[in-house]
Subunit: 341 residues, 2 copies
């Protein structure tokens, strides 16, 4: 739908050849300042816009990054994408954003679609259902630049950005123990997720250090149906083996927990204390009682992913993305959900 002039027409108007005009606009050293000026002013006058597809075809790059996230309605992922955009925009890159809705099949379709080169790189966080990663391996083996954040694939040798999941899980659990909890539940989206594993290890080690033994019944694996999750948690709370503390490994399960607690006679923090990985600080302090949070540096994670990619994509002959995990620490903010006054 680009109805504007093209290079040839612009050149005709200037009585110059297309190649000269192209070089002038690209600020080539072989063009005189005089003609550069003429060309640029005429281009502005006619509002010349280079056709991005011709350019992409020619240069074999799209100036586009694909971002693949499990869900849009999440303050964490929203902030990460904001962080990515903040950087990529400065380099004139565009963002294709896809949500997998936590569905591996959709994730596979999206990733396979992306193999055709529509984007120059992918920044992604895998779905909670993802265990078979062949679609991602294939992508990476083809040399496609791929960066993971938060929910990463350890087996794929590329750069990953995470927060200090283990330590945060450890410290969060330790905080609950210090507040008197002895039976601490762990809420997760899926056992497969990297964040689940790391946060859970931290949880286990904190229990161990305190001489507490983990109880399998206190590990709740949730699903995509909010109502179902609320009921799972409510049953735990109403059951014979009621926990006195909860560590939620993701934001939405903390909200589900609040809903579940409302359906019981329990009081937070007196009967049950709650801490959660949580990005929406404004909401955390409005919850009743306000929620003790482990805040992931979402925006910053997005920025770092993008900076790394911009460096790789905009400089000539960059090496492959190194196989390393970069950790940006979270902050624990203690609020009323874990402190009895």
């Amino acid at each position: 739908m680009n109805t504007g002039v093209n290079l040839k027409e612009l050149a005709a108007e200037l009585k110059l050849s297309p190649s000269t005009v192209s070089r002038a606009l690209n600020d080539s050293y072989e063009i005189s300042e005089a003609t550069k000026k003429k060309v640029i002013s005429m281009a502005e006058k006619l509002n010349y816009q280079p056709n991005p597809f011709a350019r992409s075809l020619r240069e074999n790059k799209s100036k586009t990054i694909a971002v693949v996230i499990p869900e849009r309605m999440s303050s964490f992922f929203s902030k990460v994408v904001d962080g990515i955009e903040e950087i990529t925009q400065q380099y004139g890159y565009h963002l294709l954003v896809y949500s997998t809705h936590e569905d591996v099949d959709r994730e596979k379709k999206i990733v396979n679609l992306l193999m055709n080169g529509r984007a120059d790189a992918i920044i992604m966080s895998v779905s909670s259902q993802t265990s078979d990663i062949s679609h991602l391996t294939r992508l990476h083996e083809r040399g496609f630049p791929l960066v993971f954040f938060d929910r990463i694939c350890s087996d794929i040798p590329t750069t990953k950005f995470i927060t200090n999941d283990y330590e945060s899980g450890f410290e969060g659990t330790k905080h609950l123990i210090q507040q008197g909890c002895r039976k601490i539940a762990f809420l997760m989206l899926s056992k497969e997720l990297s964040i689940t594993k790391d946060r859970y290890r931290g949880y286990l080690d904190a229990l161990k250090q305190a001489g507490l033994s983990p109880e399998p019944q206190l590990n709740i694996t949730c699903c995509q149906e909010e109502e179902e999750n609320i009921e799972s948690i409510r049953k735990l709370l109403d059951g014979p083996n009621r926990p006195d503390g909860i560590l939620s490994s993701v934001e939405k399960l903390a909200l589900a927990t609040y809903h579940a607690v409302k359906r019981t006679h329990l009081r937070i923090p007196n009967d049950i204390k709650i801490i959660s990985f949580f990005s929406n600080l404004s909401i955390a302090s409005l919850l009743n009682p306000s929620l003790t949070t482990i805040t992931q540096p979402a925006f910053n994670i997005g920025e770092e992913c993008a900076k790394l990619l911009m460096k790789k994509l905009t400089k000539p002959r960059q090496p492959d993305l190194p196989n390393q995990v970069i950790t940006i620490p979270s902050n624990i903010t203690i609020r009323s959900s874990t402190i009895v006054v």
Copy 2:
């Protein structure tokens, strides 16, 4: 970074001409079933992926829609984008998503960037700062398909999707009046926004119908700084002309109001009742007290925008998008923030 085979190579492998292969893959009627089968299976075997840019250049369309929203961290906009994606994905379209961060200058830059044809259409909701709309007029005058939702530009003759803003403002205000409110404040992001105007008209008419006179001091125009907004609202609440009801025209200002109330000695709903346009139902019922909401059909609005565009873009010789406003109604859910028990 498309390292796969191209049409020519695929054709060579098959000992056919590129054009035959192209036609076979595009299911042309002039190709025999036998060769179609052969071509398709070889294409799969070699994992042939057509180059999207060559195709875009040739066909002068990108199979890409640009979505421009004022902010990502909003349940309303997240759901709209989800709704858009739900439809466009079925048609094999991709989504470029841009956030203006409520900044006209960024909005202008994005829109101007989009004029080069990188996307086949734009779905957008304008920033709260947008009053000069020349960038959008120019786009539309060039024949670029443009659809507005929620925060629309009435002056641009294209299709717009909104909720029943006037009625919802009216009914919301009426509800407050029925609950005994006599001094009702109206919170908005900006006087320029279409949603502000319509919701405000509804508010005014409801006051009028009840014989109440509007008071300019009860209209609060907010900004992008949450803390500043909270303080503006707190001052209103602590001031001599304290309202007994609040109609918030956007989600984030309802949250700011809850923060503000926490800084006063007032109680919701006894001293002040609150109703708000609000999309995040899970949060609404967790707030303390739970928030009476006017829920916009966000996902549905996204779907409708996308359906309209898909129809226009995928069928040959479609007329221009008609100049009309399509309204999808909101639902009011009464919760504790407006009902004294």
